[in-house]
């Protein structure tokens, strides 16, 4: 057996390192959110700056199309008060069913054209987080700027659906189409 097959070094060093690292893992602080928690919180905030046409359905139905990375973060908003009503959560099976939503989160750009065609001009605030979505007709595109989240707005898409977006939100947008 070649000489360099000597037993490995003492492993207490390894364990000490692990112990050290273990001590440093702290539970999530109240103010820190994961990316998708923050995105769910944004979905809850956007309606405050948007007016739906008077003819649209009552209620505040926040929806996400599969695949849905928001998961439990979105569910945690169920029953929260928003704009004189309470939030309901739904995961519509197809774009046509999503016409009943006030807000629709679209995570997947693969079938985007199909989804937007299915929604037609229904008064649904569409929000997506894949690059180029706003240019393709999604009303709000969440973008990453390093560790922060920002957004772009496609105002003409919102107008087509009869939605009015407040100037306050437009000012915060990185780009407005």
């Amino acid at each position: 057996m070649p000489h360099w097959f000597a037993p490995a070094r003492p492993h207490w060093l390894l364990l000490a390192l692990l112990a050290l690292a273990a001590g440093h893992v702290v539970p999530a602080r109240a103010q820190a959110l994961t990316e998708y928690q923050a995105k769910a919180a944004l979905l809850y905030n956007f309606p405050k700056f948007v007016e739906w046409p008077a003819s649209s359905r009552p209620g505040m139905l926040l929806c996400a199309l599969a695949p849905d990375p928001l998961g439990p973060a979105l569910d945690s908003l169920q029953g929260k008060p928003l704009k004189n009503t309470v939030v309901s959560i739904a995961r519509p099976a197809n774009p046509t069913a999503a016409q009943a939503c006030q807000v629709l989160f679209i995570a997947d750009a693969d079938n985007l054209d199909r989804v937007l065609a299915g929604l037609g001009n229904a008064p649904v605030l569409t929000v997506g987080d894949e690059e180029g979505m706003a240019a393709r007709g999604v009303m709000i595109e969440l973008i990453r700027e390093g560790p922060r989240i920002a957004f772009k707005i496609n105002l003409s898409a919102a107008r087509r659906a009869g939605l009015t977006i407040s100037s306050q939100l437009l000012k915060l947008a990185r780009e407005v189409y």
Partner: protein
């Protein structure tokens, strides 16, 4: 890729040197962590955050694809750019090493990826399919996939690596026997300007890279990058030769990459050129001759078109042209014997995604590839003597259909079938069936069955070498076939903990191996069968502050039909990847532990002992605007370990690097 192989030593009972001490230690450490992993923190009240606060807040990106992965008919692993950076991965091989159930061995020339207990020494990753943004990187002569410093792309340009273990032939055809590695590149806009990177590392190693990426107002997304890696390497002592190979571990690699995305079109161009010294005197050549080296050169262009033809029909088309060139200088009695290979091919693919029928997602398409050159030559330089000049052309095509059918709200049936006509005219039909059931909101079951194949490559079919013993061609080889069964359980706890468990059974037949004929000559033949059984467990948790913990354990047993344990097939693998902010959050640490159990070598009675390799990396992006600093120590505890050699080596094992370091600076402007 090689000269005559020495005769394979007969199998005999191995004397395993299994050292179980490390495993309990590692498992104990993992169990300790299981505490915080199991207890989900109380979720924050998301309704209490104001818009401005949300926009100011720093969040770490989570893997969105994990969610998609839960619907995939496999236990997919996704490694993101952030993880690659945090753990200081230098090559694709480093990235793959961190994946559950995967191990990579290195013979100081090429890197060999082992999956699900199959890590056949000397197999140039022909039983894995390597894709770059969907383009097939396996060449058309050896069907090899290069994943070390010879990988075609700088790892800094990788957005994510998706590893799909299991048979992929029902979608991808040839070579997708044990798994598919899909490397996804960054987009130009993710760079948002120019970036230069310089690194220094142990053994006189440096690397430089300059990249530019941007999305222009007219919609053009552009990414350009050039890089060079150069390493002097070490002088390596080999007890088998009782000598030191001086200056023969040198490694130099250049790469160029460009990607242009405009409208529905994406054009990618890549070129890489790697020259590596061969210090091991492989294939029985002279020891310590400075001329021994291999050069691998790969280039391609790949044009992709993607467009929604209607609400329910999406078209993807692709046309590509690829080149592979290999030169090996092997020295015999002072004479430089050159092995040379030229591969050249073009191909096209059409794929349609069809959702007209309710509950069905149909994918169907076809592929055609024309091999313009599959040439192998072998000759002595001086005095000149030609031994082999084999020139081949061929074509291959395939048709496939896949349906993702929602049986109910919670149950998905994924069924696929693909027909392949290989270069030698063999027909292969490969089905795949996956039943994916969402037990409840957090639990997914997957029951998977699939087959896959690998067609014999041009080397196995046509390479001839004069011995003694002679290596004979065998144009009658048939494709290897594998049948696989797998059960996967995925569970999500809270929003940030993911657990995966998998059990599988693989049976491979008509395995192509080199055998010794009664005449004493060598020839490849469909002679072997093998089976593998395995269990895999993985736990992963991400914290809001960017901390991440991923721990996995794999038990696997891969055997031949006669019950002998396969070479280079560890029974146990355990991995830990742990990253978190440290030192007042200015830095981020990446700790990586990799345990590999003992492995048989091709030399009877000699096993490569178990080992734990620890890598520690510190990264900071907060020292100066635009500057990123990475400092890493690899094999921190200087663990002595070795990977099994293959038939081409007279060494049973090849020693791996001890403690090394790397310092890397990247500046963005």
């Amino acid at each position: 890729m090689e000269r005559i192989r020495p005769r394979r030593a007969p199998y005999s009972a191995s004397r395993r040197r299994f050292r179980p001490r490390l495993l309990p230690a590692l498992l104990a450490a993992l169990a300790w962590q299981a505490g915080p992993v199991a207890a989900a923190a109380a979720p924050p009240d998301l309704a209490s955050f104001a818009l401005e606060d949300l926009l100011r807040m720093e969040v770490y990106s989570a893997s969105k694809f994990q969610q998609k992965a839960s619907e995939a008919p496999s236990a997919v692993t996704v490694i993101t750019a952030e993880e690659i950076k945090a753990y200081g991965h230098r090559t694709l091989a480093d990235i793959l090493r961190s994946i559950r159930g995967v191990y990579v061995s290195y013979d100081r020339n090429y890197s060999y990826v082992g999956v699900r207990g199959f890590g056949r020494p000397g197999d140039y990753n022909t039983r894995l399919l390597l894709l770059l943004d969907g383009y097939r990187l396996n060449d058309n002569v050896y069907d090899g996939a290069l994943v070390g410093t010879d990988f075609i792309l700088d790892v800094d340009l990788i957005e994510r690596v998706e590893f799909v273990p299991g048979p992929g032939s029902a979608i991808y055809g040839n070579n997708a026997l044990f798994g598919v590695i899909n490397v996804i590149t960054k987009q130009g806009r993710q760079l948002g300007g120019a970036e230069v990177s310089a690194e220094l590392a142990s053994h006189d190693t440096w690397k430089g890279r300059a990249s530019y990426g941007r999305r222009f107002d007219n919609g053009l997304d552009l990414l350009l990058s050039v890089g060079r890696y150069d390493s002097q390497g070490q002088d390596l002592f080999f007890p088998e030769f009782n000598g030191t190979a001086v200056g023969l571990d040198h490694d130099r690699a250049d790469n160029v990459y460009g990607k242009f995305a405009f409208g529905d079109f994406t054009l990618a161009l890549a070129h890489a050129d790697r020259k590596k010294g061969v210090p091991t005197a492989s294939y029985g050549q002279d020891f310590n001759d400075p001329r021994a080296n291999t050069v691998d050169r790969q280039s391609f262009f790949d044009l992709k078109y993607q467009r929604a033809l209607s609400d329910q029909l999406e078209l993807t088309g692709r046309a590509y042209y690829g080149l592979y060139h290999y030169t090996g200088d092997y020295i015999y009695s002072g004479v430089d014997n050159r092995d040379r290979t030229n591969g050249r091919w073009w191909g096209a693919e059409v794929k349609l995604l069809h959702t007209a029928f309710k509950g069905h997602k149909l994918v169907y398409g076809g592929e055609y590839q024309r091999d313009l050159q599959r040439d192998q030559a072998n000759y002595d330089l001086d005095p000149y003597a030609a031994y082999l000049d084999d020139r081949r052309q061929s074509e291959r095509w395939a048709l496939y259909l896949q349906d993702e059918y929602s049986l109910s709200e919670r149950t998905l049936l994924n069924a696929g079938l693909r027909f392949d006509r290989s270069a030698e005219g063999h027909n292969s039909v490969n089905p795949r069936l996956g039943l994916i059931h969402q037990w409840d909101d957090t639990t997914t079951w997957k029951i998977l069955y699939g087959t896959a194949f690998r067609a014999p490559d041009a080397y196995e079919l046509y390479y001839i070498a004069y011995g003694p013993p002679d290596q004979l061609a065998n144009p009658n080889l048939r494709p290897e076939k594998i049948k696989t069964y797998e059960l996967v359980l995925e569970k999500v706890i809270g929003s940030d903990i993911r657990l995966t468990a998998s059990a599988y059974h693989y049976a491979i037949e008509d395995l192509i191996e080199q055998e010794t004929l009664p005449s004493g000559d060598l020839q490849f033949n469909n002679i072997a069968q093998a089976e593998a059984d395995g269990l895999e467990f993985e736990a992963e948790r991400r914290w809001a502050d960017g901390s991440q913990l991923r721990a996995s354990y794999t038990w696997q047993l891969a055997q031949r039909q006669d019950g002998t344990w396969l070479d280079n097939s560890p029974r146990h693998l355990a991995k830990l990847n742990w990253s978190q902010p440290v030192l007042g959050k200015r830095w981020r640490s990446g700790l990586e532990l990799q345990y590999i159990g003992s492995r048989r070598t091709s030399h009877p009675g000699i096993s490569a002992g178990s080992s734990v390799v620890t890598n520690l990396t510190l990264t900071s992006q907060k020292l100066a605007p635009g500057l990123e600093v990475t400092a890493g120590v690899y094999n921190l505890f200087d663990q002595r370990y070795a990977d099994p050699g293959s038939d081409q080596h007279s060494q049973a094992m090849l020693r791996q690097d001890g403690r090394t370091w790397r310092l890397k600076l990247t500046y963005r402007f």
